[in-house]
C-alpha cells in the first residue's frame, strides 16, 4: 500500500546565508514559525496531528529533542509526541520518509514532518583537553587546589573547536565535504568552467523563479524576533548580478593548487526551516484537502564517504523502482546542489552504462536528466543549503512546481555527508 501516503501542504521559511538575516533566529524559532503557520494555513485542528517528526543535522544543545521543542513552541497540544531525526544532509527528507513509514505501519494518520537548521548558531566548543582542565577546576576544593587546577590551562585550550567546520568533515575518511567534491571533479574531469557555468545557471534560474513568483506559495514571511518588527520575505542567496567573470575570480577553496571547487560553485552554509503535512490519502479526503502529491517511492543508499557526492546515483534507482517509473518519466528533477561538480558527476553517472553495470548491477543506464527539467528554479548554490532542511525544501519546491504547471511526476534526490544518497518520487 505504498500509494496512499500523500503530502497535502508544504511550507518553508526564506533561506538566508548563515551570519546574515537569520543569524539571531534560533533553529527552534525558525521551526516554530513554519510549523505554526503550516497548521494555521491548513485550517487543521491540531488535535488531528498524531506525531511531529523534525529533521535537524546540527541539533542545538539547548533543545536536545528539537522536534518536541518546536512542537510545543508552535502551541501544538502537549499530548502530541515528537521526535527528531538525523541523517546529515538527508535529515529533512528523512523526516518525510519516517512520517510515511509510520503512517504506512498504521501508527499514525497525520504527521507534521518538518526540518530546521540554524547554521549561524552552531556553537564553538572546547576541545576534550580543555574540557578535562575545566573538570579539574570544577572539582578543586580550596583556593590552593583551584589555583593548581588553573595553572594547568594552556593557551591552546582556549582555541575553540568550530562545530560548523568539524561537522562538515567526514570522521571516517577525513575529508571535508569540499574535498569530496574535488575528488569527483578530478575523477570525472569536470572543468572549472563547467562548474562555474552550472553555478551561474542556478543563480539565473533562482532569480527568474523569484520574479515569476514561483516561491510565493511555498514560502512564508518570517518575523524576526525578538521584536518581530522586521520581516524576511525573500531568500537572501540568489544574485541577479552573478556572472562567469565574477565566479572565475574566486580561488579554489579546498585545493589551492589543482582545485576547481570554489565558494561560488558550491552551496552556501544557510539557515532555514520547512514543514509538510503527511497523511493517508483517506485522511486527506476526510479533512477536505486536495493532496499536492503522493509519495510514490523513496530509497536510501550508501557509498564510499570519499565519493559521497554521487549518493543520488545509488538512491534514485530504488525510488524509481518502487514507484514503477523511469527517470525519463520524471517531469522535474531536483538534485541538491551541494557542489556543481557533484551534480554534474551525478548526471554523467546516471546516464552511463558502465556505471549502471559496475556500480548498480543494472543492464541499462538509469537515464539522462535534461537540463531543462533539472533544478528549474535554481538550487542550493543560489538559494543555500540549510543542511538538515534541504531534503524537505526540495520536496516542497517540487510539490508547488508540479501544482503550478500541472505536472504529474517528479524526483527529489540528494547526496549526504558520510556517503549516502536519498531519493523520493512524487506523483499526482
Amino acid at each position: 500500500m505504498s500509494s496512499d501516503v500523500v503530502i497535502t501542504h508544504g511550507l518553508r521559511t526564506p533561506l538566508a546565508k548563515a551570519g546574515t538575516a537569520l543569524r539571531r533566529v534560533s533553529a527552534v524559532e525558525l521551526g516554530r514559525q513554519v510549523v505554526a503557520e503550516l497548521v494555521a494555513r491548513a485550517d487543521l485542528d491540531p488535535e488531528r496531528i498524531d506525531e511531529v517528526v523534525v529533521g535537524c543535522a546540527g541539533n542545538p544543545i539547548d533543545a536536545a529533542n528539537i522536534g518536541r521543542v518546536v512542537a510545543l513552541r508552535a502551541n501544538l497540544p502537549r499530548s502530541i509526541p515528537a521526535m527528531t531525526v538525523q541523517r546529515n544532509c538527508g535529515s529533512g527528507l528523512e523526516a518525510i520518509t519516517t512520517a510515511a513509514e509510520r503512517i504506512r505501519a498504521g501508527r499514525a494518520q497525520v504527521i507534521v514532518a518538518g526540518a530546521v537548521e540554524s547554521m549561524s548558531n552552531y556553537p564553538l566548543l572546547y576541545s576534550a583537553a580543555a574540557t578535562r582542565q575545566f573538570e579539574r577546576l570544577f572539582r578543586a576544593r580550596g583556593s590552593v587546589a583551584r589555583l593548581a587546577a588553573l595553572s594547568g590551562f594552556r593557551p591552546r585550550h582556549f582555541s575553540p573547536d568550530i562545530a560548523l567546520l568539524t561537522g562538515l568533515t567526514d570522521p571516517v575518511c577525513g575529508l571535508n565535504m569540499g574535498e569530496t567534491a574535488e575528488v569527483l571533479a578530478k575523477e570525472f574531469d569536470i572543468s572549472r568552467d563547467a562548474q562555474d557555468a552550472f553555478a551561474l545557471r542556478s543563480h539565473q534560474r533562482a532569480v527568474a523563479a523569484e520574479q515569476a513568483g514561483a516561491f510565493d506559495d511555498e514560502r512564508m514571511p518570517l518575523f524576526l524576533p525578538p521584536t518581530h518588527a522586521e520581516v524576511l520575505q525573500q531568500d537572501v542567496g540568489p544574485r541577479a548580478g552573478q556572472s562567469l567573470e565574477a565566479l572565475g575570480k574566486l580561488r579554489p577553496a579546498f585545493d589551492r593548487k589543482y582545485g576547481t571547487v570554489t565558494a561560488g560553485n558550491a552551496c552556501m552554509v544557510t539557515d532555514g526551516a520547512a514543514a509538510t503535512l503527511v497523511m493517508t490519502e483517506q485522511t486527506a479526503r476526510d479533512l477536505g484537502y486536495e493532496p499536492l502529491a503522493r509519495l510514490a517511492g523513496y530509497s536510501w543508499a550508501g557509498l564510499s564517504p570519499r565519493r559521497m557526492g554521487l549518493g543520488p546515483c545509488y538512491a534514485v534507482p530504488g525510488a524509481l523502482a518502487e514507484a514503477g517509473r523511469t527517470l525519463e518519466e520524471m517531469d522535474r528533477v531536483e538534485i541538491n546542489e551541494a557542489f556543481a561538480a557533484q551534480v554534474i558527476a551525478c548526471q554523467l553517472c546516471l546516464r552511463s552504462s558502465s556505471f549502471a553495470r559496475d556500480e548498480l548491477g543494472l543492464e541499462a543506464p538509469v537515464g539522462a536528466i535534461p537540463d531543462e527539467r533539472l533544478n528549474v528554479n535554481g538550487g542550493a548554490i543560489a538559494l543555500g543549503h540549510p543542511v538538515g532542511v534541504t531534503g524537505a525544501r526540495l520536496v516542497i519546491t517540487l510539490l508547488h512546481e508540479m501544482q503550478r504547471n500541472g505536472l504529474r511526476r517528479s524526483l527529489a534526490t540528494m547526496c549526504i555527508g558520510g556517503g549516502q544518497g536519498g531519493a523520493v518520487v512524487l506523483e499526482r
Binding site: 516554530r32 505554526a36 503557520e37 494555521a40 494555513r41 491548513a42 485550517d43 485542528d45 513552541r73 508552535a74 502551541n75 514571511p221 518575523f223 524576533p225 525578538p226 521584536t227 518581530h228 518588527a229 522586521e230 520581516v231 520575505q233
Partner: protein, 736 residues
C-alpha cells in the same frame, strides 16, 4: 475540588462545614479552621460567617486552655482562592453610621480573639486573599503562602470608596513597616506571593502541595515570632533607612507628607477614602492597637455611608452584571466560547485587539493587505508584552508563548476554524463590504463575524453578508489594552447566539461588554457628541479653553472636553460630528471649531498641536493661537454653567438613547459612560448624578438652559417619567 484533606482519621471534627467553615483537631493537637462555603467559587466574609468564626476561635481557646490544642491553622477549601474578603453586598446593605461602625467592630473583635489565642496561629494562603481576608491573616502569628500565581494579597477597599475596617490599617504598617504598608492601603494594589515574602507580609512561600505541611510545622513553633525578618530588611542599608525614616518622628512626618501629596494628586480631592485611610494609619500608629482599632472603625463608618462609596460600589455591581452575560454564566464558559480569533486589519485597533487576545490565551490570526502593517502590529504587540514583563505581569517564557499565539497572513487562509472574526479595516463602507464578504466565504459555518467600526452601522455592513444573523458590532475603544469598555452592537438581524459569542469574547479578554443598539455612534460616541459640542459652542461664545476644561475636571472627569478632543484627534472628531449632526436634528447647532482647527493644521495630540500644545512629556499648555481662530467675544460663564451645559447635554442625549432603546437601562448607560469616557466614577454616571441632584431640580435647570441656549436642553421625555435607580441602591444586579 479540594487541594488537600486536612482532617486526620484519628482526629475529631469539632464543627461541621454547614455554614461554610469547619474546625478539626488532629491527634497532635493541631486545630484547623477551614473556610469552604458550599456552592460558591470563593469564600466570602459576612456577619454570619464572622460570628461563626468567632465561636470557633473561642472553642479553640478553651481547648487550648485545657491543653488539647497546641496550634491553629486557618485555611481554605477552595482551589486557588483563600477568602475573597467581605461580601460587597454586605457593605452595600449597611445603612447608617452606627451600623457601619458595629459591622467593623464585629470583625475587629473576632480577629482580636484570633490574635489573642494562647497558641501559635498560622494562615495557609493558597490563593486570592483580599480585604477582610488579608486583615484575618494579619491577625495570625505566621502567614505561609503557596507558590502559586493565584496568590494575591491586598487591601483593595479604597477602590470601593471605603477603607480597611477589620484592623488592616493598624496591623499592616505594624507588621511590614509604614513605607511598605501605605502604598498597599492607599492604592488598593495587591502583591503576589514573591513580593509578599520580600516585604515580610508572609513568612514563607512554599510549593503548593507542601502548604498544609509547612503551615502545620509553623503552628508547632513558638507563639512569639522569632527573627523572621523581611528578606529586604536583612540588608543593612534597608535597616538604616528604616530606622531613619520610621523610628523617629521627623522621618515619619516626611513619609506622611509624601503620602498625603500623592493622595491629593491621585484623587483630585474627589475621593475621601484614601484620605481617611491615611488618617487611620497616621493617628492609629501613635496609639495602642486597641485604640487604633476603635479609631479605624469610626473612620470606616464615615466612608461606608458616603455617596462616593455607594456609587463606586454600585459600579462594582454593574460591572459584575455586565461581565455575566447570563445569570448562570461564569468565567469558565466565557473563555471556552472563543478560542480562535481572526482580526482583519493590522492597524492600531486591530493590532491592539490581537495583542490583548493573545495575552489572554487565544490563538489569533491577523490579516492585512501588506506585510508592513503586520510587522508594525507585531512590533507594537512585542512592545506591549515587554512592558508587561517589566511590570512582572508575565515572565519571558509566557511572553514568548503569547507572541507565538499570533500568526499573520496576507490572504484569507486559516479562517475556516475561527470562532470569531473581527474586521478592523479602514472606515470605508465599500472596503468593509469587500472584506466581510471575503471573510465570510473563507470562514466556517459557525464563525461569528464582527466589526470594530465606530462610525458606520452594523446594518449598513450586514448587506454584504449571506448570513447577517452571524454578524455583530464589537466596538473597542482606543487604546485597546487600557479601555475596559466594549460596546456589543446588536444589528437588526444579529442572532442572540452571535451577540452572546461577542459578549463572552469581550469578557474572556478582560473587558466589560455592554450591548447597545445599532444607531450612528452607538451609545458612547453618540452621547459624547452633545457634551463635546456644547464645550465648543461655549468656546465660540467666548469661554476660555482652560476655564471650560478646569470646570469639567473639577466636576470629576479625568480631563476636560477640549483636552479629550485633542486625544481623540480633531480630524476624527470633526468627521464624527458631521456624521452625527443629522441625528440630533436642528435642535443642536453644530460647532465648526474643530473643523477650523483642522484646517489650520492642528489635529490634536497626535500632531503635537490642538487646543493645547504638546511638547515632550511635559504637561500640555493651552495653544496660544486658539482664541483668535475660534473663541468668541463674550466672557467665560461660571463653572457651574459650564458643567451643566456639558453634563446635562450628555444627560439629555443619554435619556433619548434610553427612549430609543440604544442602551438597555440607566445602569448600562452609566457603566458605559464611566468605563468608556471616564465619567467621574464617584458620581456613578450621568443618570446617577441626575438622581442624586433630584429629578425636579434637573428638569427645572434644563428648562432654564433651554430658555437661554435653545431647545436642545428641553428635557427628554424619559427624564420626567421615572426614577432611574431604586432606593435600595447600591445592590447586586442580575443583569444590566
Amino acid at each position: 475540588m479540594k487541594e488537600r484533606e486536612w482532617s486526620s482519621p484519628h482526629g475529631a471534627r469539632l464543627a461541621s462545614a454547614a455554614v461554610g467553615l469547619s474546625l478539626d483537631v488532629d491527634e497532635d493537637g493541631l486545630a484547623v479552621i477551614e473556610f469552604d462555603q458550599p456552592a460558591a467559587q470563593h469564600n466570602q466574609l459576612s456577619p454570619e460567617i464572622i460570628e461563626r468564626f468567632l465561636e470557633l476561635i473561642q472553642l479553640v481557646h478553651s481547648r487550648a486552655d485545657e491543653g488539647q490544642v497546641r496550634g491553629l491553622v486557618v485555611t481554605s477549601g477552595k482551589q486557588n482562592s483563600f477568602i475573597a474578603g467581605v461580601d460587597v453586598s454586605v457593605i452595600a446593605g449597611v445603612r447608617g453610621v452606627t451600623a457601619a461602625r458595629a459591622g467593623a467592630r464585629q470583625g475587629q473583635l473576632a480577629l482580636q480573639a484570633l490574635a489573642e489565642l494562647p497558641v501559635p496561629t498560622v494562615a495557609a494562603i493558597n490563593g486570592t486573599c483580599v480585604g477582610g481576608a488579608t486583615e484575618l491573616v494579619l491577625a495570625c502569628d505566621y502567614r505561609v503562602a503557596a507558590d502559586n500565581p493565584a496568590v494575591l494579597i491586598g487591601l483593595p477597599e479604597v477602590q470601593l470608596g471605603i477603607i480597611p475596617g477589620f484592623g488592616g490599617t493598624q496591623r499592616l504598617p505594624r507588621l511590614i513597616s509604614l513605607e511598605r504598608a501605605l502604598p498597599m492601603i492607599l492604592t488598593g494594589k495587591s502583591v503576589n506571593a514573591a513580593k509578599a515574602r520580600r516585604i515580610g507580609l508572609v513568612d514563607a512561600v512554599v510549593p503548593p502541595p507542601l502548604l498544609p505541611r509547612e503551615a502545620a510545622r509553623l503552628a508547632g513553633q513558638a507563639k512569639q515570632r522569632g527573627s523572621m525578618m523581611a528578606p529586604e530588611d536583612r540588608r543593612l542599608v534597608r535597616r538604616v533607612r528604616r530606622w531613619l525614616m520610621e523610628r523617629n518622628p521627623i522621618g515619619r512626618r516626611l513619609i506622611y507628607r509624601q503620602a498625603a501629596a500623592q493622595v491629593a494628586k491621585s484623587t483630585g480631592g474627589h475621593y475621601p477614602a484614601p484620605v481617611k485611610a491615611l488618617e487611620a494609619v497616621k493617628r492609629g500608629l501613635a496609639m495602642k492597637l486597641g485604640d487604633g482599632l476603635r479609631l479605624e472603625a469610626d473612620l470606616v463608618a464615615d466612608v461606608v455611608v458616603s455617596s462616593e462609596s455607594r456609587n463606586l460600589v454600585g459600579i462594582f455591581f454593574m460591572r459584575q452584571a455586565a461581565r455575566r452575560a447570563r445569570p448562570d454564566d461564569d468565567d469558565a464558559s466565557a473563555s471556552a466560547s472563543v478560542r480562535r480569533l481572526v482580526v482583519l486589519g493590522a492597524g492600531v485597533m486591530g493590532g491592539g485587539i490581537a495583542q490583548l487576545a493573545a495575552y489572554r490565551g487565544l490563538s489569533v490570526r491577523v490579516k492585512d493587505i501588506a506585510i508592513e502593517p503586520l510587522a508594525a502590529a507585531m512590533k507594537i504587540a512585542h512592545r506591549r508584552f515587554s512592558a508587561l514583563v517589566r511590570k512582572r505581569r508575565v515572565n519571558a517564557a509566557e511572553m514568548r508563548r503569547a507572541m507565538g499565539r499570533i500568526s499573520t497572513t496576507l490572504d484569507y487562509s486559516g479562517l475556516r476554524r475561527a470562532d470569531l472574526i473581527i474586521e478592523a479595516v479602514v472606515e470605508n463602507l465599500a472596503v468593509k463590504h469587500e472584506v466581510l464578504a471575503a471573510a465570510e466565504a473563507a470562514a466556517g459555518s459557525e464563525t461569528v463575524l464582527a466589526t470594530n467600526t465606530s462610525s458606520l452601522t452594523v446594518a449598513s455592513m450586514a448587506t454584504a453578508l449571506r448570513d447577517p444573523s452571524r454578524f455583530v458590532g464589537l466596538h473597542f475603544f482606543n487604546p485597546v489594552h487600557r479601555m475596559p469598555l466594549v460596546e456589543i452592537v446588536r444589528g437588526p438581524e444579529s442572532s442572540d447566539e452571535a451577540v452572546d459569542t461577542a459578549r463572552r469574547f469581550a469578557t474572556a479578554i478582560g473587558k466589560v461588554p455592554i450591548v447597545v443598539g445599532d444607531a450612528p455612534g452607538f451609545f458612547v460616541n453618540r452621547v459624547l457628541t452633545p457634551y463635546i459640542n456644547e464645550a465648543l459652542l461655549m468656546l465660540g461664545e467666548g469661554a476660555k479653553v482652560v476655564e471650560i476644561d478646569r470646570a469639567i475636571e473639577a466636576f470629576g472627569m479625568p480631563m476636560g472636553p477640549l483636552r479629550l478632543l485633542d486625544e481623540i484627534g480633531l480630524d476624527v472628531a470633526a468627521k464624527v460630528t458631521a456624521q452625527l449632526a443629522g441625528v440630533f436634528g436642528d435642535d443642536m447647532p453644530t460647532s465648526g471649531a474643530a473643523a477650523t482647527l483642522v484646517e489650520a493644521g492642528r489635529l490634536g495630540r497626535k500632531g503635537g498641536e490642538g487646543f493645547y500644545t504638546y511638547a515632550g512629556k511635559g504637561r500640555p499648555v493651552p495653544h496660544s493661537g486658539t482664541e483668535a481662530l475660534v473663541r468668541g467675544e463674550g466672557a467665560s460663564p461660571p463653572p457651574a454653567t459650564i458643567v451643566d451645559r456639558c453634563v446635562l447635554g450628555m444627560l439629555n442625549g443619554s435619556a433619548k438613547a434610553l427612549e430609543e432603546g440604544i442602551v438597555p437601562s440607566p445602569q448600562a448607560a452609566d457603566l458605559a459612560l464611566v468605563l468608556g469616557t471616564g465619567f467621574a466614577p464617584f458620581r456613578g454616571g450621568v443618570f446617577r448624578y441626575a438622581e442624586e441632584r433630584g429629578a425636579e431640580a434637573i428638569r427645572d435647570r434644563m428648562a432654564e438652559l433651554a430658555d437661554t441656549y435653545g431647545p436642545r436642553f428641553a428635557p427628554a421625555a424619559a427624564l420626567g417619567q421615572r426614577r432611574f435607580y431604586p432606593d435600595s441602591w447600591p445592590e447586586k444586579l442580575e443583569t444590566l
